[in-house]
Amino acid sequence: MIESFGWPEFMFLVRATGWTLVLTVVAFLFGSIVGGAFAIMRLAQSRILRNVASVYILVIQSVPVLMVLFLSYYGLSLAGFDIPPLIAASLSLGIYVSAYLAEIWRGSIEAVPFQQWEASSSLAMTRGQQYRYVILPQALRISVPPTVGFLVQLVKNTSIVSVVGFVDLARAGQLINNATFQPFQVFGSVAVIYFLICFPLSRLSKHLEKVLHVGRTH
């Protein structure tokens, strides 16, 4: 018997949206921490640190996130680790996010004029103090638009996790469509939900740009 797209089906989509959001937040947080560390390493005085970070970023950016996902889900379970889909999914997406955020943030840090480094080191600050008090606060403002832009991409890209059996918003839509065969209603709803998540994020970015004075030179 074919069901129709009604309230219970819609609530199924809403619950799946919850998982999409959880996945996005976890992957973004994990990716931020790792990516932040790699951004700093890319700019470190030690050549070894710089090279390690470059290689990491290059490899992750050159490999489809799908392969990372397969590796962490199938590969690790073959190696004897029993990994639940949520962990495998957040881990792989987190790794993917870290490589891109590392580059976005490295660019933001480099966009701070080098005279700010000179002025702060001439005031006897350590490199850590320069980052903390002078460079990062300015880099943060520069990084807001590209970071939020990337976050919006991430919300949509989380749909890739359905391949390891994780039921996110996109996967939930497919499942319901298989049961109801009402693609316009189902995928229309899915699209609207994605829009309702991403549109406010884009607006937030615009707002932050204004509040933080992004783009002013001094």
Binding site: Q115, E118, S122, L123
Partner: protein, 243 residues
């Protein structure tokens, strides 16, 4: 002991040698102007004194520190040597007061109240007391440069370096900055300044150094140096700046 002692310093950028054996001694309390055409190495020499540029050979001693390129030695040196740049380089995300208090608080551990009192004092010294809570963006170039001077002074340096500090300013704004520097000089601060303001060098600096082709070409008491240049190069330079 002299405040700044520079001995046979050589400095190259790649294959280009910009300092070809420079020696110079500045006593405590002296004001020394360094003049010369662009490319003569005068800014590079100044930047070597606080270790912003590394030298290939020779020796620089500043108020008891031998310029050495380890982070720790450089920080110790820079607590005693202030520098003011052509482009001010204030921290745009901090207010004037925060700009001035930041370094003393985090690098010297000066308590908050003391740092604030000190900041108010140096800000008054440059005549900008009412700008404490203003962001650099909202100041004129001349005011920003005076704040930059105040920010350096708050570290209580023993030597101050000025790298073409009025070159980026509109002519009508240079006067207020030069006035602040003149008062500093009168207060006994040891100062080295790279400048294109010949009148200022002549009237305020005890000594003037003329650099040419990476060398100290000629030096002497300012008045004498300007009125009786001994080398044809300096004579030509002085003449060209009078136009």
């Amino acid at each position: 002991m002299s405040a700044v002692h520079i001995e046979n310093v050589h400095k190259s950028f790649g294959k280009l040698e910009v300092l070809k054996g420079v020696s110079l001694t500045v006593e405590a309390g002296q004001v020394v102007a360094i003049i010369g055409r662009s490319g003569s190495g005068k800014s590079t020499l100044l930047r070597c004194i606080n270790g912003l540029e590394t030298i290939q050979s020779g020796r620089i001693e500043v108020v008891g520190h031998t310029v050495t390129y380890t982070d720790e030695k450089l920080r110790a040196l820079r607590k005693d040597v202030g520098i003011v740049f052509q482009s001010y380089n204030l921290f745009p995300h901090l207010t004037v007061g925060q700009n001035i208090m930041l370094a003393p608080r985090i690098t010297k551990g000066v308590p908050k109240e003391e740092a604030r009192a000190q900041a108010e004092k140096v800000l008054a010294q440059v005549g900008l007391s009412e700008k404490f809570d203003v962001y650099p963006d909202n100041l004129s170039g001349g005011q920003q440069q005076r704040v930059a001077i105040a920010r350096s002074l708050a570290m209580q340096p023993k030597v101050m370096l000025f790298d073409e500090v009025t070159s980026a300013l509109d002519p009508e704004l240079t006067g207020e900055v030069l006035l602040v520097m003149e008062e500093l000089a009168r207060g006994g601060m040891t100062m080295l300044l790279v400048t294109h303001e010949m009148n200022f060098a002549r009237s305020v600096a005890d000594f003037t150094v003329f650099m040419h082709q990476g060398k100290v070409w000629e030096m002497g008491p300012s008045e004498e140096l300007f009125s009786h240049p001994k080398t044809p190069e300096l004579a030509a330079f002085v003449k060209s700046t009078l136009k």
